[in-house]
Subunit: 127 residues, 2 copies
DNA sequence: CTGCATCCCACACGATACTG
DNA sequence: CAGTATCGTGTGGGATGCAG
């Protein structure tokens, strides 16, 4: 229980530090809409409207904003077709695909442990 | 392993649906402070003050709030010692530990791809 | 030391209306 | 269809002060 026990691997970019860029990355991963968009696109490219329809409860504004963010971070590519009516396709980049397994793991954990968590909440609230 | 999540036979909680509980779970996982707390506690139990010191930038309010949330969800256990001055220890429960690998994977991805992401951002902003 | 209470405000987000 | 623009508000979260 030595309080000066130091983990030797704490040398690299450290998300515990305030301004470390990895925090920004974690923020993006943590964003609820980003996660859902990545998950949705994991099955293959989608049009804007398909995404809006598939992701229940997302507003137009948030969907666009989320897609812009993901595009800026190089996780999603955007392809606009100059047709009438317009058509815009989104798909994951290689970088985005490298994240899918992790995010899918999160979803699996969430659904898999939902029961335990709800039970814990009920227990806590009943005290 | 396919990241395409298969439909299970029972009612599947679908995070794409608005009111599904798994969204709430995802929200907790996605919370920046929750992730950092879980990561910090992964190495072993910590006192309140240690957490506050270790997690740079977290306010007292948010730390307490985050710990309550994690405790409510059954991810963290809280042990208060009736001493003077008081001492409160936090540690991961089994449920909490089951999440560590996933969250650590997220952190590893974040630090590992930080360079690519920053490059992508620079490229995007320079258009 | 650990935390709850209060005040306060920036900004995240939804709703709505408009456009190429 | 796929956005952009604008506005109103709810609240996340910091700062401060107090208590056990």
């Amino acid at each position: 229980m030595s309080y000066f026990l130091r983990e030797s691997q704490d040398v690299e970019p450290d998300p515990y530090q305030r301004n470390c860029g990895s925090r920004q990355v974690l923020d993006r991963i943590g964003d609820r809409w980003s996660v859902l968009v990545v998950l949705t696109l994991a099955h293959g490219g989608k049009r804007y409207g398909e995404l809006a329809q598939r992701i229940d409860g997302v507003s137009q504004k948030m969907l666009t904003q989320t897609l812009r963010g993901l595009e800026r971070d190089g996780l999603v590519s955007r392809t606009a077709h100059a047709t009438v009516p317009p058509r815009v396709d989104y798909e994951l980049t290689d970088l985005g695909r490298s994240l899918v397994d992790l995010v899918a793991g999160l979803e699996a954990w969430a659904t898999g442990h939902l029961g335990e968590i709800e039970a814990a909440r009920a227990r806590y609230d009943a005290r």
